[in-house]
Amino acid sequence: MANTKAGGAEKNGKAAEEALSKKLPESGETAENAKEASKKGGVEIVKGQYTPVKYDEQYILMVNALKKYFPIKGGMVSKTIGWVKAVDGVTFNLKRGTTMGLVGESGCGKTTTGRTILRLSGEKTDGQVLFNGQEVYDLTAKEMRALRTKMQIIFQDPFSSLSPRLPVGEIIGEAVREHELVPKAEFDDYIDKVMDNCGLQPFHKDRYPHEFSGGQRQRICIARALALNPEFVVCDEPVSALDVSIQAQIINLLKDLQDQYKLTYLFISHDLSVVEHISDTVGVMYLGSLVEYGSTENIFSHPLHPYTEALFSAIPVPDPDVRMNRIVLEGSIPSPANPPSGCKFHTRCKHCTQRCKEEVPVQKEVEPGHFVVCHLYDK
């Protein structure tokens, strides 16, 4: 029932968005314009209607108008009757050696964004993912395999992401051996070194994951990702399943490793205090779209988008004297299969106007490096 509705709404949205996308100015090919293009991302719905970005040396990762829709199958012959718009126009650039935090409610597409960037969930629907200037989705299987060593992921739940049948040394070393990163003779020493770097005892190599505590398992996951000597790591809620005191250990470890190996992180989390601690830039997601993006200081000191404001006002402060000015959002996140027309946040926004209901806002640079997708900031 809900699915048939989704189809209709999508058509309506399509028409409105197409009309808008025509207004897009032509963009040039310089790095300056690449930034401009990123501002305009997320408007279109027809495939290939984004302005391509050009590779800029300082960015390890450039994501432009990335979309990932999952089909809703239904009917007798399982035909596609709608799309779940898990990621719907995400645009950001990530500088080498920095950390970007990605925050948002559960179900807003944080994890799918991470996985789509790594090409872990099939084909993308639309947009660009440039890793070191190379479109990730253009690579052949063989080239992709070679690239896998450069981009790694640390999964959310250390209890379910480790094979219970493999000893720890094998979990960490399997990919190293497969990719032949080190000569056979040095293999054992290499694994010892990696484990030592991640705070694990090398003599634990022969133990199985069930013999470790949650914090230790997360260290194993980190060691597994880092054993391949990657440049870019997606950390998908690496500390959510851990205790407070262990969280601190893991966060410190991630920071130390970043300094040591010049890693770039995409840090996905819904814990805002952790994100503030670890990130250089922060992106806030709502229902598949990036609503605000900028440096950590800017975003936390003066959030612009009403959703970001509400989100940050809800962070509990460990001080009983602080009376909080909490903006409680009414209702819950709408279904991504049938997102509201216009601005997706308008159903819960207190600044909602008629324009918000009809017109999709575009990404604007309100101050240097601080982007927001909201009609409130139109000049």
Binding site: D243, V244, S273, P316, D319, P320
Partner: protein, 388 residues
């Protein structure tokens, strides 16, 4: 080979011996519990202070496992005043949840047993000791006098029954005398509306999988509040939720508490949530209370090294630090607890007395109590002098 056995290794023979002796103890306890027609005088007691809703007095809850006796709760004493919120903080495995389960008497039997101590429950005109009450009497208190909001809304609702049925069941079991089915349904829908579910008629007919995490948690809260309980135990009610939903749930709990003037025992490891909700805070470590006091005492003048460490290890928005503090080491093995202060091996503020027995409770102020040698009479002058 035999010499290389890892620490904590048990041979099958040893394990059998332990389980046999355990069974002897637990069987005796179960037999005592299962007696019929226990006279009321046996579990009738006196509250020490009539303003308290619950008093935990030297509670010991042990689990008799095949690897040895786990002292999950080892001498816990605190009280929950009427109309106030008490927050219980600590790492996982420190006995927070077991303390609350002891109050509800929902421990995993026969392994889990309250071996010593009292939990006094204030029923207005009289007081009962929960630990000695027979099950049939307890059943009359659970749900309508004290109720619990469980940790994971995903696993605590039954997936094969509709939401409405599950809430109806609570009402008909505990408060259903003289009520027709329609009355009960009306009350359920009223409850669902009270916890902020907009489409309450629709949700009444839904299955748990059709709801989001926040909605399920609301249903759990509606179930817990169905019979206007005087004591609500909230066991990490917001841990599985997003900040925005968490904010909604906390507001809801606060409003409801004021509406029905009940006491809340709030268990969590999130200090931010505690600061917001709690009037009194109890910090637990390895089955014991290391520090307790008003929220103001604990957050502005934390005394125990563990509390200080816990606060330092949590990143706080707006307070940039280069490196987070992390408490070194790990929690001692619950089967072989040391006979000195449990925190000594991880403590960076040890003083001379720390090698002695487990420290007893020291009062810093009227409300603020801490179990640490740093605050004993002879050390007090020294630490204060050192800090000043």
């Amino acid at each position: 080979m035999a010499k290389n056995k890892p620490e904590g290794y048990l041979s099958a023979k040893e394990s059998r011996r332990i389980s046999k002796s355990n069974r002897k103890i637990t069987n005796a306890m179960e037999k005592k519990r299962k007696r019929k027609n226990v006279p009321e005088s046996e579990y009738l007691t006196q509250m020490h202070d009539s303003k308290n809703a619950v008093e935990f007095d030297n509670l010991h809850t042990y689990f008799f496992t095949d690897a040895g006796v786990v002292k999950s709760v080892d001498g816990v004493t605190f009280e929950v005043p009427i109309g106030k919120t008490v927050g219980v903080v600590g790492e996982s495995g420190c006995g927070k949840s077991v303390t609350s389960l002891s109050l509800m008497q929902l421990l995993q039997r026969p392994q889990g047993q309250v071996v010593e101590g009292e939990i006094r429950l204030n029923l207005g005109d009289k007081a009962y000791d929960v630990t000695k009450m027979p099950n049939s009497e307890l059943q009359k208190l659970r749900g309508n006098f004290m109720s619990m909001i469980f940790q994971e809304p995903m696993t605590s609702l039954n997936p094969v029954f509709r939401i409405g049925n599950q809430v109806d069941e609570v009402i008909s079991l505990h408060d259903g005398e003289g009520k027709t089915k329609e009355d009960i349904k009306k009350r359920t829908i009223e409850l669902l509306e009270m916890v902020g579910i907009a489409n309450s008629d629709g949700v009444y007919k839904m299955y748990p999988h059709e709801l989001s995490g926040g909605m399920r948690q609301r249903v759990m809260i509606a179930m817990a509040l169905a019979c206007n309980p005087r004591i609500i135990i909230a066991d990490e009610p917001t841990t599985a939720l997003d900040v925005t939903i968490q904010a909604q749930v906390l507001d809801l709990l606060k409003n409801l508490k004021d509406k029905i003037n009940s006491s809340i025992m709030f268990i969590t490891h999130d200090l931010g949530v505690i600061a917001e909700m709690a009037d009194y805070v109890v910090v637990m470590y390895a089955g014991r209370i290391v520090e307790k006091g008003t929220a103001d005492d604990i957050f502005h003048h934390p005394a125990h090294p563990y509390t200080i460490g816990l606060m330092a290890s949590k990143p706080v928005v707006g307070k940039q630090v280069d490196k987070l503090y992390s408490i070194p080491g790990k929690v001692p093995n619950p089967i072989n607890m040391p006979n000195y202060c449990y925190f000594k091996d991880r403590c960076e503020m040890c003083v001379n007395g720390c090698d002695g027995d487990y420290p007893c409770e020291v009062s810093i102020s009227e409300t603020h109590k801490v179990s640490c040698y740093r605050y004993n009479e002879e050390n007090k002058a020294k630490t204060e002098g050192g800090e000043a």
